[in-house]
Structures are given as structure tokens and as C-alpha cells.
């Protein structure tokens, strides 16, 4: 991705919008008694479109904003989302995304790992109460939501930053050239 000031502004707006939407909408709706968490999927999309640096920086920024708005120790969510963004970016830089299932699967797997990461950060500070096995069920359902929502988030973001995508020109060139006079 070529990061021009215009594209950077778009990414910042998407990040802000994503965090606000998560706190005011997704966290407060329930399906199967579980609320979707779209932020890891959003960071995965940043990583898959922009690479390791974009993924890690967006993960840090989104985590930072989340911690600020939730008035919790700053840095915990950032740590987890940096790892998510960097992992997605590394995947993008090392492998070609051939199948349409790759993006939703990445979103689902990394959302599950992010939830584990949030748990690990919380455990670092000490959890003094019982932890139910249902936490695993909740994390799996969140991953399932990320599978479906991640695809939509990625498609939307791809459309939004299309002018900056390096490989987009290649995709457009797949149409066979018209030979004049043939």
C-alpha cells in the first residue's frame, strides 16, 4: 500500500469509526449471548492490505484509543493488537492470498488469539476469581463472528484504499488486451 496523506487520513477515520462502533454498537448487541469484537478483524484487514508496519502501527493506535476510552491501563490492548496486525502483515508479505477464504480465516484465527492475548494481559495483573470454561465457547463464537464480519470489513477497506493498493493494477490488467485490426 502506498501511504499518501489522503490514504492515511482515510485509515485514521476508519480506525476511529471502528473503535466507536465497537464500543457503542457491537459490544452492546448479542447473538448467542456473545457480542462480536470487530477490532482484531479491523487490524487484520489493515495488516493484510498494508503489510507489517501498517498492521502493527494501526494495532497500537486502535488499542491505545480503546484503552483511553475505556479508562483502563493504557498499553494492554495495544500489545495484543500490535501482535495481531504484525502477524497479518507478515502473512501478507510472505504468502499470496489466492483463496477468498484466507481473509475470513485469518480474521477468525487472529480474533481467537487476540482474545487469548487479552486474557493473558489480564492474567498478568492477576485474576482472583473463578474462570468459567464458557470463556472458551465465547471466544470461539467471537471468532465465528469475526469470520463473517472480517470478510465484509476487508472488502470495505479494500474498496476504500483501492487507489493506494500496489497489486490492484495487476488485477485490473487481467482482461486480455484488445488487438486492433484482428
Amino acid at each position: 500500500m502506498i501511504l499518501t496523506p489522503k490514504i492515511t487520513a482515510r485509515l485514521v477515520i476508519v480506525g476511529l469509526f471502528g473503535v466507536l462502533l465497537q464500543l457503542t454498537f457491537f459490544s452492546r448487541v448479542e447473538l448467542f449471548h456473545v457480542s462480536p469484537d470487530v477490532l482484531p478483524a479491523l487490524v487484520v484487514s489493515f495488516g493484510l492490505l498494508g503489510g507489517t508496519m501498517t498492521g502493527a502501527v494501526s494495532g497500537f493506535a486502535i488499542g491505545f484509543l480503546l484503552d483511553c476510552l475505556l479508562i483502563q491501563p493504557i498499553g494492554g490492548a495495544s500489545l495484543v493488537l500490535i501482535a495481531v496486525g504484525y502477524a497479518a502483515g507478515t502473512f501478507r508479505e510472505r504468502f499470496e492470498i489466492h483463496s477468498r477464504l484466507v481473509v475470513p480465516l485469518m480474521c477468525a484465527i487472529l480474533t481467537f488469539l487476540a482474545e487469548l492475548g487479552f486474557g493473558a494481559v489480564e492474567a498478568m495483573f492477576g485474576i482472583e476469581t473463578d474462570v468459567s470454561v464458557l470463556v472458551v465457547r465465547d471466544m470461539l463464537i467471537k471468532s465465528l463472528f469475526a469470520f463473517f464480519l472480517g470478510w465484509a470489513i476487508y472488502a470495505g477497506m479494500r474498496r476504500l484504499v483501492r487507489p493506494a493498493l500496489v497489486d490492484e493494477a495487476t488485477v485490473r490488467r487481467t482482461r486480455r488486451p484488445t488487438v486492433l485490426g484482428a
Binding site: E30, F60, G63, L69, G76, I82, F118, D130, V131
Partner: protein
């Protein structure tokens, strides 16, 4: 060239990770800092607009979930149940309190909520996204007299306490959060204990008994006891309904000295709450 690029990427990654750890170390244990107060001051109005605008969509999805789960609720019946529950719990608490007062031959009865406490109504504008925290953000803060430690209730009963506050917003740590501990009393049995959460199950609180000489039974009500001790940060006024005992076999009480409580308040669907400001928590 490529190696230089890789080195630069790793350096940025290391910087971000070290920065996160540094921020975590600096801000851990603080209620709220200047940065958070600034950010929330800017975003609170936007969050409030988002919250109001998205309410119909949220309600629609939650309605689908409830219908799917065959939990269709009748608004009128819920209101009636709420009133009846309040009366029942209030009555049981009053009977138990009356008996104690008769025993002590003291007739100066104090109110359920001590004098000087002023409820401040607030809207929930944000909720923590992970399964590990049970925090909500509300649209009132120190500007409205809200202070860390203030108890928070809704029409059903106790919700939690204010754990951090900025000028215009506050964080409420719910009773289903792993860091929460509430001193409670079972009525009419009079057994005292501490209610703690179970991570991953917001509708399951664990009541650890402090004195288990009396048996408690399923369906009995749990109300706040009003005292605080080690690990119990907020001082809740006495007799606020917390929940009802859902599992209390004699064997469990004797073997584990604990029981299971279901909170009255639906902690996953909170819209309007009340902060009891001006209490003894300050």
C-alpha cells in the same frame, strides 16, 4: 536494501512493544490520567451520538437474539415483576432488620439508603469488547459529582461501582468483573458473605460465606451488607438488591462454604443506570 528495510520494521515493532509496556507500567493502578481525560472529553459527545443513533439497530439485533433463544419478554410483566421483587426484597430485608433491632432493643431505624446520597441518572455509552473485562462507560463524570467508588444501580438492583471518572464520563466496573467483590447478606437467613464474579458467566456470581452457621435456600434474596474490608473497594449502602440464590444445597454449603447467585440486573443489556453519589465511599 531489503535487509535495511527489515531492520527498520523490526526497530519500529520493538519501539511499539516497548512503548506499550512502558505505558502499561506507567498507567497501571491509576484511575484515570490526563491523557484519558482529554481523549474521553473529545469522544464522549461523539459516543453519545453514536449510542443514540445506533439504538434502534442494537435493539433489533438483541430482539432477534432473544426471539431465537425463546426468551420473548413481556414489558408489562417485567415491570410488575420488578415492582414485586423490590417489594419482596425490601420486605425481607426490613423483617430481618426489624428482628435484629428488636433483639438489640434499639428502635432507631435507619433508611435503606443513608441520608446524603444523591442518585445521578446516566446513560451507558460504551461497553468493553472482550470477555475478560466487565466494564461499561457512562455519560456522567466528576462534573456531575461522580467519584470513584460510588455504587451504581438500575431498576433491578446493584450493577457495580465507579472505578474511574473523568470530567464527563466514568467507568463502571460491573459486579460480574473479576476484580469486583461485594459484601452481602442473605435475607431472611441473615448469612453474611462476599459475592465475586465468574469470568465468562455474567449471570453467575459466587457467594462465599463468612458465617455459615445458618442454612440458606434456593430463591432467597441477596442484598448488600453495607460494610467494606480488604479487597472490597466500594462501600455500598446496605439493602440494595443484588440477586437471588440459585443453587444452595446443604452439602455445597458445608463442603465449599459457597453458593451460586444470579444477579437481578441483566448486566449485558444496560441502558440507563443510577450512580449513588455523595455516599460514604469518599
Amino acid at each position: 536494501m531489503y535487509r535495511k528495510q527489515v531492520r527498520r520494521r523490526r526497530a519500529v515493532l520493538a519501539l511499539l512493544v516497548v512503548g506499550s509496556f512502558a505505558l502499561l507500567t506507567l498507567t497501571y493502578g491509576q484511575g484515570s490520567n490526563g491523557l484519558q481525560r482529554g481523549v474521553t472529553a473529545v469522544f464522549a459527545p461523539v459516543s453519545s451520538i453514536f449510542d443514540r443513533a445506533l439504538k434502534p439497530a442494537r435493539d433489533l439485533i438483541n430482539w432477534v437474539d432473544e426471539t431465537f433463544d425463546a426468551r420473548g419478554k413481556n414489558h408489562r410483566l417485567e415491570e410488575e415483576l420488578q415492582i414485586a421483587r423490590k417489594e419482596a426484597v425490601g420486605g425481607k430485608a426490613a423483617v430481618a432488620e426489624n428482628a435484629e433491632l428488636h433483639k438489640l432493643l434499639k428502635f432507631d431505624q435507619s433508611g435503606a439508603i443513608p441520608e446524603g446520597i444523591e442518585p445521578v441518572t446516566a446513560r451507558v455509552i460504551g461497553l468493553s469488547p472482550t470477555v475478560w473485562f466487565s466494564d461499561v462507560m457512562i455519560d456522567v463524570g466528576t462534573g456531575e459529582g461522580v467519584r470513584p467508588g460510588d455504587p451504581v444501580v438500575n431498576g433491578d438492583g446493584l450493577i457495580g461501582h465507579v472505578s474511574a471518572a473523568t470530567g464527563s464520563t466514568a467507568k463502571v466496573t460491573l459486579i460480574s468483573d473479576h476484580s469486583s467483590a461485594v459484601s452481602v447478606r442473605v435475607v431472611p437467613a441473615g448469612v453474611q458473605g462476599i459475592v465475586k464474579a465468574t469470568v465468562g458467566e455474567p449471570n453467575r456470581l459466587v457467594l462465599s460465606f463468612l458465617n455459615s452457621d445458618k442454612n440458606i435456600h434456593k430463591g432467597e434474596s441477596v442484598v448488600t451488607a453495607g460494610w467494606h474490608g480488604e479487597g472490597i473497594e466500594s462501600r455500598f449502602p446496605p439493602n440494595i438488591p443484588v440477586g437471588e440464590v440459585t443453587r444452595a444445597t446443604i452439602f455445597e454449603q458445608e463442603a465449599q462454604e459457597r453458593s451460586v447467585v444470579r444477579p437481578y440486573a441483566d448486566l449485558r443489556n444496560l441502558d440507563t443506570v443510577q450512580v449513588l453519589t455523595g455516599g460514604a465511599s469518599k
